[in-house]
């Protein structure tokens, strides 16, 4: 089967969730209640908005991930041909990793890896 067949699996997911939610909507009881509309916060009304600008710390890791994930993409083709190319590939990857390692060390020393 070809990559186009992925569309089946896409629709499998849609159908499965859709069917489940539909059946549940049909059989589940419904009752209206003001308290049910409230977000759950241990039984106390929420103070202030919930969807806000949030701590930047989480996003820093996303940025770091971007840097390193691009590197990983570079390693993928290398890994495939490593066996065939031999010593040249090895030397190249050592250089590549040294640069990558320096980047990681830089982030480490800059305390970007420390969660605050």
């Amino acid at each position: 089967m070809d990559a186009e067949a992925l569309i089946i699996f896409f629709f499998c997911g849609v159908i499965m969730v859709g069917a489940g939610v539909l059946v549940s909507n049909l059989v589940a009881p419904r009752s209206k209640n003001d308290q049910k509309d409230e977000p759950y916060e241990c039984g106390i009304p929420t103070q202030g908005p919930s969807m806000i600008q949030f701590k930047v710390g989480y996003y820093l890791f996303a940025i770091l991930f971007l840097i390193f994930d691009v590197e990983t993409i570079f390693i993928f083709p290398w890994a495939v041909v490593m066996k065939k190319v031999g010593i040249a590939a090895f030397i190249e990857i050592v250089i590549f990793f040294v640069v990558l390692g320096l980047g990681l060390m830089y982030a480490w020393k800059k305390k970007a890896l420390k969660w605050e």
């Binding site: 089967m1 990559a3 067949a5 992925l6 089946i8 699996f9 896409f10 629709f11 499998c12 997911g13 849609v14 499965m16 969730v17 859709g18 489940g20 939610v21 059946v23 549940s24 909507n25 059989v27 589940a28 009881p29 419904r30 009752s31 049910k36 509309d37 409230e38 977000p39 759950y40 916060e41 919930s50 969807m51 949030f54 701590k55 989480y58 890791f61 996303a62 770091l64 991930f65 390193f68 994930d69 990983t72 390693i75 993928f76 890994a79 495939v80 490593m82 066996k83 065939k84 031999g86 010593i87 590939a89 090895f90 990857i93 990793f97 390692g101 990681l104 982030a107 890896l113 969660w115």
Partner: protein
């Protein structure tokens, strides 16, 4: 019984008998529906079996009996749970972003389905066999985090938001380690195609053939994949003692059930991936020179080998979950960025060196 050992005949004979009776387009359509149905059934079965297994295994770890009431030894417990969840009222709180809120479970389930498609279950039993299978799996499986982020953000709940952001930071971090630990083996196989990776282990699994670097890579893979599936001890996204239920606090009924199911499906996917790459997929266990032993091993059908290995890894993951306390968010990120990632990079170099020198079997 031959089909049990090689599914190629089975699929081919189905294809041929269909071609004889229908046109080309209809055949493709019917085959698509068959495959889709098969995977949906597999999903439902996985949910039923894994949830039951988790409850029983956790119970035995904790010196309990676990579910015992519904069915013999509580085997129908999950089914009863599904029925209960179907009957639950679907709730959406008033400030939630209703579209995204409803969309989140779809995204999670779709990614799970699309990842599952590329797994080789047995010889000839693989829906999609890309030549970049490994890359494809690691790319698609990380999309699941989008669903978690959406779920957390759209619920308009503070616990959910924190849970989702934690999960985001966690999944993308550990994505790296999963990819790199798999790459360690790719150096040996020289291919990203999963069927080729499995075939290359006909004379021995990579975890044995690849020496210590392969073992290290396997350990890293175990840790990182546990984290990537948001399972304990890395279940920060739904840390119930801190965030009540994390990103799915606001979900009820069937939508919650899909988050729950997706967690187990993801667990199955990463275990299957680990089994395929490190433990030889559906290849039987062989010891060089022991012919009788090898013949007995060959007698066990490949599909059992595959599911046996997957259950082994799943059991390990359950063992982790029911033994360790949860990590804190900074510990979690430290573990990834300061321990797993550097070790992984070094490990790849060592493996490359081994390959260069030909020091592997």
């Amino acid at each position: 019984m031959n089909w049990l050992y090689d599914f190629t005949y089975l699929t081919q004979s189905i294809h041929e008998s269909l071609s004889r009776n229908f046109e080309q387009g209809t055949v493709v359509l019917i085959e698509m529906i068959l495959v889709g149905l098969a995977f949906m059934i597999l999903f439902a079965l996985l949910g039923l079996v894994l949830v039951y297994a988790e409850r029983k295994v956790s119970a035995f770890f904790q010196q309990r009996l676990g579910p015992m009431r519904v069915g013999k030894w509580g085997t129908a417990q999950t089914l009863a749970d599904v029925i209960k969840l179907l009957m639950k009222e679907p709730l959406i709180n008033k400030n939630a972003d209703k579209f995204l809120f409803n969309l989140a479970p779809y995204i999670i389930m779709i990614t799970a389905f699309m990842t599952m498609a590329a797994l080789p279950f047995a010889k000839g039993l693989q829906a999609l066999d890309f030549d970049i299978g490994l890359l494809y799996i690691s790319a698609v499986s990380s999309l699941g985090v989008v669903g978690i982020l959406l779920a957390g953000w759209s619920s308009d709940n503070k616990y959910s938001l924190i849970g989702a952001l934690r999960s985001g930071a966690q999944v993308i971090s550990y994505e790296l380690s999963v990819g790199l630990s798999l790459l360690t083996i790719v150096i040996l196989t020289g291919s990203l195609q999963l069927s080729v990776i499995v075939e290359s282990q006909a004379n021995g699994w990579w975890i044995f053939k690849g020496h210590i670097p392969a073992v290290i890579a396997f350990i890293i893979f175990l840790i990182a994949s546990t984290a990537e599936t948001n399972r304990g001890p890395f279940d920060l996204a739904e840390a119930e003692s801190e965030l009540t239920a994390g990103f799915h606090t606001e979900y009820s009924g069937m939508k919650f059930a899909f988050f729950f199911l997706a967690e187990f499906a993801n667990m199955f996917i990463v275990s299957a991936l680990g089994a395929t790459v490190f433990l030889g997929g559906w290849m039987p266990f062989h010891i060089g020179g022991w012919e009788v032993f090898n013949n007995i091993m060959d007698y066990i059908p490949p599909i059992f080998w595959f599911f046996g290995k997957v259950s082994f890894i799943i059991f390990l993951m359950m063992w982790f979950r029911w033994t360790f306390p949860r990590l804190r968010i900074d510990q979690l990120l430290t573990l990834e960025w300061k321990y797993l990632l550097p070790i992984n990079l070094m490990n790849i170099l060592v493996m490359a060196f081994l390959v260069l020198m030909g020091w592997y079997f």
